[in-house]
Subunit: 118 residues, 2 copies
DNA sequence: CTTGACCTTAGAGTGCGCTCAAAGGTGTAG
DNA sequence: CTACACCTTTGAGCGCACTCTAAGGTCAAG
């Protein structure tokens, strides 16, 4: 797939895709004319990158995680790295729940009769 | 409290606190000598700002949320704004769970006998 | 009365993650 | 052959959230 096709599918600019490639987050082959040729799986990969980014992970962190997932390191090492990431994600979930609780609390203060949702 | 005390308590720089004040996220009185005098509640407020930031919210978003929480608008308007924010937080939680599921899946592929945690 | 840790301001600089501009090559339709 | 949408590269520019620099004021201890 050409760069414009991926860009339109995922909803990012072609500049962003070239930037991600330069950073090593995605890869491409080349057509004989020099155009990039992306495997269609790249679209899903970029979606995951954008998801992780929106959740507060930096490209450097995402890069590290993806390269671990891509690597052929021993399974127990992979498990260790991913377990750490899962712990981090679980922490973030509970932090978000904290934030939610704080907002609910403020809502109850303002309006004691209402029952908080969540 | 002087700016350095708040900074040390929360673990941010004094520059960051001055920046937040300029942006309107926090307030201070002044001593007669010109030094800022922060109410001690500001420490907790700054902690909440850092928490929200680490979860992917921009200062502009946080500013909007905090000014709503600070305001004396009618309760039903407040409820509406906060409900929207709660919906957003719930979405983020489920996105994080998605990310966690994706990692767990990858872990199972690498190591079929293990049971995923979460 | 000086040293040193704190505070003030204005304004410049930094790193991240894009985003745009310039100058040019490719490919298809009319 | 021309127009036009696509692609290429290099390098500059931008907004965000700080972070640092310069030049100076405050204040308690020795």
């Amino acid at each position: 797939m050409k760069i414009g096709e991926i860009a339109e599918r995922v909803g990012v600019s072609t500049d962003t895709l070239r930037y991600y490639e330069k950073r090593g987050l995605i890869r491409s082959d080349r057509h004989t004319n020099g155009y990039r040729d992306f495997h269609k799986d790249v679209a899903e990969r970029v979606r995951q990158i954008r998801l992780a980014q929106s959740l507060g992970f930096s490209l450097t962190e995402i890069e590290a995680l993806l390269s671990t997932l891509d690597s052929t390191i021993p399974v127990d090492q992979l498990r260790q790295v991913l377990d750490e990431k899962l712990t981090e994600i679980n922490q973030r979930i509970s932090q978000l729940k904290q934030l939610r609780a704080a907002i609910n609390l403020r809502l109850e203060q303002a309006c004691p009769l209402n029952v908080p949702r969540g």
